[in-house]
């Protein structure tokens, strides 16, 4: 008995010791090393992942999607988890468009993977199958892959830099990625764990461009047709709203299919399309009267260093007639009335030699030599569109000055930026840079350009039966590394439509056309064809109510009655007509580049003059920042 009790006691003690040891070990694991084990287990079973944000959509001005973000998937399969391998094989074949052999071979492995990527519609049926694991990714999808591609560009990808609007507005389009903790199994497969979502991904903002999809398609097609028809090397077409500076269509193409310079970067000598700038300079400086004539030398004029020739010889020509028949001789003779400074200033005022400031990552400023760098013949060359270069957008911007009554507007490509919830983050408003000519002078220039498409003018190829087109032809020689290339020309037609109540500015440029290189038989007919298509299309780029109503008596009156387009505050520096006469403060532009400072002053309705070379950054202004000045007052920028 005693022995039994002893044995029992021993067993009890042993059991108790065992329990104590177990509890002690449990306490050690839980209390002493618990955190380390928990962290280790957590690290094995969970992972913090970044949830990609959907990139914002790019639309045209009417809401047509041009670039959208699509959810795409890579498909992983765990064959041992499949309940019905035969059915899964059939579904994988039909949904993903894969071959039977390919699927069967893949399913023999422990882990099958199809990179794809596959659309959400393709993988939709696969989701209900056990053993199918999808990895989501976002991809840019262009409904029409070639549509306005140089403008839209592409987002950055591995081994490729972003370009176009995708690059310029990347921070706006990209959105903010979210983060979540996901469960991971022994095979490394990820399982969503909705309860562990740390931050929701915020989709990027949507961007509405000023482009009109229909206008864009018309100009792209017209340019492609023109290159084929004239066997040209390349070309550009720009369509601009002259009252807002909004670019409605923009096409650039090279015949060999290479990536062309865009209408923002392709520079060329504008030839005779620049003659109207001389006319503007003469009007602004009151150096010409409508009845003034110059002798046209019967089409050939020998100068000390060059011989000028006219394609359409004239005898006596007024300025209007010189523009109509594109007389080099008469234009040069009229231009001699301008001083170098006057000629340079009017060209600068029309925006030549300086970037337009349009919303693109890369833009050329063209080339306009300073007066001190001119040779003895530069003034003559500039008058007929040589020795300086412009981009198609700059030329369109300059003609828009004449079309809208005299104001230079900054061209725009982005109309609106909208948050996913619908809030408007940015809305384009017309940005006047400066008043270049008065409305009366703009009306006179428009009359001159109207004559170009009338009988006897060089632009009759652009004339329409029912609507008047104002414009100017230009046929310029193409400069190469060793001077002008023999037989190579650029044909340009810059136009305003309709001349009676301008709604559009078009610039058509064709590089090196063959079989007749003059703009009158190349660029001008292309302009007419584009306009005819625009009239027939259902685009809102043209206000048909304005087309239907009778022509206004004068362009100045048109501007006055046009609702909400040109508030008179833009009439600066014609202070007599300014409605906004309240004084304004000089902004603080210290530390900015001279270009940024000038832009800021212009937007404030002030003029700017740079003291010195204009290099580096602005140190101070005269008057000083914060001082009150009258609208249109001159602010001097002093460098460091």
């Amino acid at each position: 008995m005693a022995k039994t009790e002893v044995r029992l006691r021993v067993v009890q003690i042993a059991f108790a010791l065992g329990v104590v040891a177990l509890v002690a070990r449990a306490a050690q694991v839980q209390l002493g090393e618990g955190r380390r084990y928990a962290a280790d287990a957590e690290a094995r079973r969970t992972e913090r992942v970044e949830l990609p944000a959907a990139r914002g959509t790019i639309y045209d001005r009417a809401g047509t999607p041009l670039a959208i973000t699509q959810e795409r998937h890579h498909v992983g399969i765990a064959p041992n988890e499949l309940t019905d391998a035969a059915a899964a094989t059939r579904l994988l074949q039909s949904a993903l468009g894969l071959g039977e052999r390919e699927v069967r071979l893949a399913l023999r492995r422990r882990w099958a993977y199809f990179h794809g990527p596959f659309s959400a519609a393709q993988v939709h049926e696969l989701r209900r199958l056990r053993g199918i694991h999808l990895t989501r990714t976002y991809e840019r999808f262009l409904p029409d892959p070639d549509f306005a591609l140089p403008v839209l560009g592409r987002p950055a990808a591995e081994g490729r830099e972003a370009s176009g609007v995708e690059r310029l507005l990347d921070s706006v389009l990209a959105g903010t990625p979210g983060s979540a903790v996901v469960l991971r199994d022994g095979e490394g497969r990820v399982y969503e764990s909705p309860s562990r979502l740390d931050a929701f991904p915020v989709p990027g903002d949507d961007v509405y461009l000023t482009l009109d999809a229909q206008v864009q398609e018309i100009v792209e097609t017209a340019l492609a047709d023109a290159l084929e028809r004239f066997r040209a090397a390349g070309g550009d077409i720009v369509v601009l709203d002259p009252h807002t500076g909004e670019i409605l269509g923009l096409a650039s193409r090279r015949a060999d299919g290479s990536q062309p310079a865009t209408a923002f970067t392709s520079v060329f000598e504008p030839g005779s399309t620049a003659k109207v700038i001389v006319a503007a300079g003469l009007l602004v400086n009151d150096l010409v009267h409508p009845t003034d004539s110059v002798w046209g030398e019967n089409g050939r004029w020998r100068l000390p260093y060059r011989v000028l020739e006219d394609e359409h010889p004239v005898q006596w020509a007024t300025l209007e007639h010189a523009i109509q028949v594109s007389s080099n001789i008469a234009t040069v003779k009229f231009a001699e009335r301008l001083t170098r400074t006057q000629q340079f200033r009017i060209m600068r005022d029309f925006g030549f030699g300086t970037p337009t400031g349009v919303d693109v990552p890369v833009e050329s400023r063209g080339r306009l030599p300073l007066p001190q760098d001119w040779s003895g013949t530069t003034a003559q060359a500039l008058a007929i569109g040589y020795e300086f270069s412009v981009t198609p957008v700059q030329l369109a911007q300059a003609y828009a000055v004449i079309a809208n009554g005299g104001v230079l507007f900054r061209p725009a490509l982005v109309k609106r930026v909208q948050a996913p919830g619908g809030a408007i983050r940015y809305e384009h408003r017309p940005e006047p840079v400066r008043r270049v000519v008065t409305p009366e002078q703009a009306a006179q220039l428009l009359v001159m350009l109207r004559g170009v498409t009338l009988e006897g003018g060089t632009g009759t190829g652009a004339a329409m039966a029912q609507y008047e087109v104002a414009g100017k032809t230009g046929t310029a020689r193409v400069a190469g590394p060793n001077g002008y290339i023999p037989g190579a020309y650029t044909a340009i037609f810059a136009s305003i439509f309709p001349a009676s109540d301008p709604q559009l500015v078009l610039v058509v440029k064709i590089d090196e056309p063959h079989g007749g290189y003059f703009a009158s038989i190349t660029a001008a007919p292309v302009t007419r064809r584009v306009l005819e298509q625009l009239l027939a299309a259902r685009t809102n780029a043209l206000d048909r109510r304005r087309l239907a109503r009778p022509a206004a008596p004068s362009p100045t009156q048109v501007i006055a009655v046009d609702p909400g387009v040109l508030p008179m505050v833009y009439a600066w520096p014609d202070t007599a007509r300014d409605a906004d006469t309240a004084s304004r403060t000089v902004p603080n532009v210290a530390g900015l580049s001279f270009r940024e400072a000038v832009e800021r002053l212009h937007r404030r309705g002030l003029r700017a003059r740079v003291e010195g070379q204009g290099r580096g950054r602005v140190a101070r202004t005269r008057p000083a920042a914060g001082g009150a000045v009258a609208p249109g007052a001159l602010v001097v920028l002093v460098g460091r």
Partner: protein
């Protein structure tokens, strides 16, 4: 007293069970909703993908590149500007 003690214990057990049932029901409902939400999200993704594909087909089908050869086959052509008639909106006379 002993009976009251058992009732008290039973009451607590019932209360505990009710709480557990309520929590479980809430979790179940949340899971059902989460599943529905996930399915709806998948459905939306699928529809968006279909929409993108339809957009592409519409753009292709309505492009000048597709329509123009068809129109030319049918003997149609682009109207001249004089053949485009824009009707003027009648002006309402003031009463």
């Amino acid at each position: 007293m002993a009976l009251r003690g058992r009732h008290f214990l039973a009451g607590w057990l019932v209360f505990l069970l009710a709480i557990l049932a309520w929590v479980t029901a809430r979790n179940t409902a949340a899971h059902v909703l989460a599943r529905e939400l996930a399915e709806l999200r998948e459905e939306r993704s699928a529809r968006e993908a279909e929409r993108a594909e339809l957009l592409r087909r519409i753009r292709e089908g309505s492009s000048l590149g597709t329509l123009r050869p068809l129109a030319e086959e049918l003997g149609l052509r682009l109207p001249a500007d004089s053949q485009v008639i824009i009707l003027q909106q009648p002006v309402r006379e003031p009463r």
